[in-house]
């Protein structure tokens, strides 16, 4: 038996906890000078420090500290006047030192919050997600387990290690527990990660590409009977690589927990791995026996003690908060609430703004990105940003339509052409020979031809049955290869058949 989600939330209250890892976009690694560029040949971006050669020592990347403080400030945190790095000790081949330099009991930023707004049955509602801490650490290398059916270390024939990622600066943002979201838990989780991503992007501290792993979410959820005080046992789902997956993972885990609890079973505290294809999670490592990481202060590094004046300089330079920016854009563009939500959901705000800044009409810009271009991206299963069409292209297309040189229908062909790599809009227009047929004489010839071929339909229109005109207009458009302005065709056709045009 599979429980419905409604059954789950009728009985249980979910409690969320979210840990987000962000790879900073610094030029060099957290503790050495190696490059951080994504996708280089394996093990080419390494040095004695990030390979943990005997004798090598870490030195903190100042830029990473600055970025972390900016993040803390943007998340309304207090910045600790004194914080320390600690060693988290455990053995794993992709971790060169067999300890990770992280922060433990003295993180750099504490006690912040993020407000997220979601659409509820009662209209838009704001939920506050409290942030417990923001701390710095280094990423591990990457293991590729070869052979074996599962791609996991167990059962693999051998493993390949790439240490290019080892030592990339990571910031971990940990929320406090988030109760009170009720049935909206999956949406709140998604909205939180989206909001976080927007904030990080506006700060310019990370690429925030979930699909490349520069923003990774571990989603914790537990259930308790509605009205109960005591928290249930949580599971931690890793590997959640898109906003949509955050929502699906939470929803799926809530249903899985409820089924277990309803059957009299118990939830095991463990790490679970999200699987994109099924939307389900599978069991990872059990955390019943908490691992002992033997944390202790990193003796190779000195404490981080940022100057108060410096923190204030960073605070003063913070970019506009994304919620304020959204309100501003919504007003300026006169966007209805529902459309605004759709834009945020589809993540087109930045790209629409860029298009508008190039002089295009806001409504038209929005319609293109949210409509036709999003549809093509979906069909191709790629992100909007990965299509070869740019805000400048869309602005140019909007201008061509305004100038009467393209109809909306022709403009869609141009969009297709640009995405297909045929060049800039003007080049596509030229190459494909697209032009609006403005010559009334040519149009009339087509109209007369169509009316002769479909005399019966023409007669209906002549007798005042206007809906029949559609078929004739369609035929004329076909006759003119879609290059005619449909409105002008209708005007001329109706006139030709003795009907008023209104």
């Amino acid at each position: 038996m599979t429980l419905s989600y409604d059954d789950v939330v009728a009985k249980y209250e979910p409690v969320l906890g979210l840990e987000v890892h962000v790879e900073l976009n610094t030029n060099s690694k957290m503790f050495c000078g190696c490059s951080t560029i994504f996708g280089a040949e394996p093990n080419t971006q390494t040095c004695p420090v990030c390979l943990a050669l005997p004798g090598a020592l870490p030195v903190v990347n100042e830029k990473a500290i600055e970025s972390t403080i900016k993040i803390g400030l943007a998340l309304n945190c207090s910045i600790a006047p004194f914080s320390r790095f600690a060693r988290k000790n455990y053995f794993y081949p992709d971790m060169p030192k067999n300890f990770q330099i992280s922060q433990y009991d003295e993180p750099i930023c504490v006690d912040g919050y993020v407000d997220v707004e979601i659409e509820t049955d009662e209209g838009p509602k704001t939920f506050r997600v409290e942030v417990e801490r923001v701390h710095m650490e280094e990423d591990t290398g990457k293991s590729l387990h070869v052979g074996g059916a599962t791609g996991r270390i167990h059962g693999a024939e051998y493993s390949l290690l790439d240490y290019n990622r080892a030592g990339i600066p990571l910031v971990e943002i940990v929320t406090k527990i988030v109760p009170g979201t009720g049935k909206y838990a999956p949406e709140v989780a998604k909205a939180y990660v989206a909001e976080l991503r927007d904030i990080l992007r506006s700060l310019g501290v990370s690429d925030v590409k979930m699909e490349q792993g520069s923003l990774r979410c571990d989603a914790n959820v537990s259930l308790r009977l509605i009205g109960a005080e005591k928290l249930g046992t949580r599971s931690e789902t890793k590997n959640v690589n898109s906003l949509r997956s955050v929502e699906r993972a939470i929803r799926g885990e809530m249903i899985r927990h409820a089924e277990l609890l309803n059957a009299g079973g118990r939830v095991v505290q463990e790490t679970r791995h999200f699987q994109e294809d099924t939307g389900l999670t599978r069991s990872g490592r059990s955390k019943e026996q908490a691992e002992d990481y033997r944390y202790f202060p990193e003796p190779d590094l000195v404490p981080v003690a940022p100057d108060a004046a410096w923190i204030e300089t960073l605070r003063a330079a913070l970019p506009e908060r994304s919620s304020i920016r959204r309100k501003r854009l919504q007003e300026a563009w006169a966007v209805p609430d529902k459309e605004m939500a759709a834009m945020i959901n589809a993540d087109v705000l930045d790209i629409v703004e860029a298009t508008v800044l190039l002089g295009a009409d806001p409504t038209k810009s929005r319609t293109w990105w949210l409509g036709e271009i999003s549809r093509i991206a979906n069909d191709k299963d790629v992100a909007l940003a990965d299509l070869s069409i740019t805000p400048a292209d869309v602005a140019e297309i909007v201008a061509l339509v305004n100038a009467g040189e393209l109809t909306d229908k022709l403009a869609r062909q141009v969009v297709e052409g640009v995405i297909a790599g045929e060049g800039k809009p003007s080049e596509v227009v030229a190459k494909r020979g697209i032009k609006v047929v403005n010559d009334d004489g040519a149009l009339m010839a087509a109209i007369e031809k169509v009316c002769a071929e479909q005399a019966e339909t023409a007669e209906k229109v002549r007798n005042g049955h206007l809906p029949a005109a559609g078929a004739l207009i369609g035929a004329v458009m076909k006759e003119t290869k879609g290059q005619a302005d449909a409105a002008r065709v209708r005007e001329l056709l109706l006139g030709h058949l003795g009907q008023a045009t209104n």
């Binding site: 005997p54 060169p96 944390y295 190779d300």
Partner: protein
């Protein structure tokens, strides 16, 4: 030529009386003659040393301005990474590993044209006080080949005492430069923590490790000190301040009006009679030279050894985790179907010696959740108390003094199965590392009962290393005029060379 001090060799080189190639070759010949008995070296870089020497001679011939020690040979403790040269740390687990980079100390030596003869023996990963814990066999004390040369830097101290090298680099975590110096009749200095870069020093205990100079005279140590010291952006714990003027202090420092504090807790019971006699004698000489001798108390020093044996093993359990066969060094059990985990386990089982394993286990335990506060946490508090003891003592005295170690060199094998007795040998040197201050050991004579060298320890506040050189040079001069000849002249003749 090899019996000269480094500064004398430097003067002859500068005057064109000898060449660096000849001087280097003389030391290589000496090593060939005596090192079968002494076993100070793990690796001799004949080709590299002669090439470096020839390069210095060429520069000098062109009239280039060279650093004070240019062309003088040196022995490097095998814990320092040197590009392309085997670096084992006295351990099987690093057998065959050749670093692809130079430690900052080595880079500084090369920059100063100091000729590196080879790598010296040591207790595995610097854990020990006798060099018996080396996986490559013990080093023998040139004063008595049946005795230990101290540890962990016994290879460096023995090389100096056997005239295999006039200069050496040591590292000191709890006394590994000073105790070997004491038992071999040589000079060893642990600079202020952060005074010399740790980049490329294979870590035993990061918060305690410090590289420093070893030599046969205070001035030679000072010259080497200035060559290797200074701020290094690659070491976050390196102090960004000018290097103390130690050469100047060694040349012209005196003790007139200086207050010298005798640490009450580092003398008396447990200290060999001959050690105490030589210590008192040195105090008298310093008083005669114009110093005021005062007594200071450091009540928390009695906990130093216990706290040290929690902090150092804790850090080492983490520092040595990287030796896992994945990227370099020994790899054991890498057969078809073996997992990474089993290769790691087997390699560490085979590659580490008994003392290293003992300390890894001790440290792992001390850092475990539930025990952390009682062990590591308490030890850190003791460390703070020891630092406070020093701060108070330095309010009463400019430098502090004590015997370097409680006894003279013991027999090889004598304490090998009694780790606690072995640990006690460092009782007077450990507090210095715990507080991160500077410490020096220089010879104060021979113990009457066994005729073996005794060390005199001078401790100076953070970044006031020049003070211990002033005191050391003054005492050294007073002792030399009392003895009429350097102490090492009394050592047995080896290889037929006086």
């Amino acid at each position: 030529m090899i019996r000269n001090n480094a500064s004398e060799m430097a003067a002859k080189l500068a005057a064109g009386e000898i060449t660096s190639v000849a001087l280097t070759q003389a030391h290589l010949d000496r090593i060939a003659a005596v090192d079968t008995d002494v076993h100070a070296f793990l690796h001799i870089d004949t080709e590299g040393a002669l090439a470096q020497a020839a390069a210095v001679d060429a520069k000098r011939a062109k009239g280039a301005k060279l650093s004070p020690l240019a062309g003088v040979p040196l022995a490097l403790k095998d814990v320092m990474a040197q590009k392309g040269i085997p670096t084992t740390c006295g351990s099987k687990i690093l057998e065959g590993w050749r670093p692809p980079y130079d430690s900052t100390v080595v880079a500084n030596l090369k920059k100063n044209d100091i000729v590196i003869l080879g790598k010296t023996n040591m207790d595995e990963f610097a854990m020990g006080s006798s060099t018996e814990n080396s996986a490559y066999g013990p080093t023998h004390n040139p004063w008595d080949l049946t005795r230990i040369p101290g540890g962990s830097g016994g290879g460096s101290s023995a090389a100096l005492a056997a005239f295999e090298a006039p200069l050496a680099i040591g590292t000191d975590t709890g006394g590994s430069i000073r105790q070997p110096a004491a038992v071999t009749g040589t000079v060893g200095v642990k600079p202020t923590y952060g005074g010399v870069s740790r980049y490329g020093l294979v870590a035993f205990s990061s918060s305690l490790d410090q590289a420093g100079p070893c030599a046969r005279t205070v001035l030679d140590a000072a010259l080497l000190h200035e060559a290797i010291a200074g701020h290094d952006p690659k070491d976050a714990t390196s102090i960004n301040a000018p290097v103390p003027q130690v050469v100047n202090a060694a040349k012209s420092g005196d003790v007139k009006g200086m207050k010298i504090g005798v640490v009450k807790e580092l003398n008396g019971d447990g200290y060999q009679a001959g050690v105490r006699a030589r210590f008192e004698e040195s105090l008298e000489l310093l008083a005669k030279a114009g110093a005021e001798i005062v007594e200071v108390s450091a009540p928390n020093f009695e906990y130093a050894l216990a706290a040290y044996y929690l902090i150092a093993p804790s850090e080492c359990s983490s520092n040595l985790a990287r030796f896992d066969a994945m990227r370099y060094g020994l790899r054991v059990g890498d057969v078809d179907g073996a997992s990474a985990e089993s290769v790691m386990n087997l390699t560490r089982e085979v590659g580490f010696g008994k003392e290293v394993k003992r300390r890894i286990i001790l440290g792992t335990y001390a850092l475990s959740s539930g025990y952390y506060d009682a062990y590591y946490g308490s030890a850190q508090k003791v460390r703070t108390l020891i630092t406070q003891d020093f701060t108070k003592a330095f309010e009463k005295a400019d430098v502090l003094v004590s015997p370097t170690c409680p006894t003279t060199a013991f027999k090889i094998g004598e304490k090998a199965n009694d780790p606690l007795a072995m640990y006690l040998n460092d009782i007077a040197t450990i507090p210095v590392n715990m507080a991160g201050i500077g410490g020096m050991s220089l010879p104060s004579g021979l113990a009457d009962e066994d005729g073996l060298p005794v060390g005199f320890q001078i401790m100076s506040p953070v970044m006031k290393d020049d003070r211990m050189y002033s005191v050391g040079a003054t005492l050294e001069a007073a002792l030399l005029s009392k003895w009429g000849a350097p102490l090492l002249d009394k050592a047995p003749i080896m290889g037929g060379v006086r």
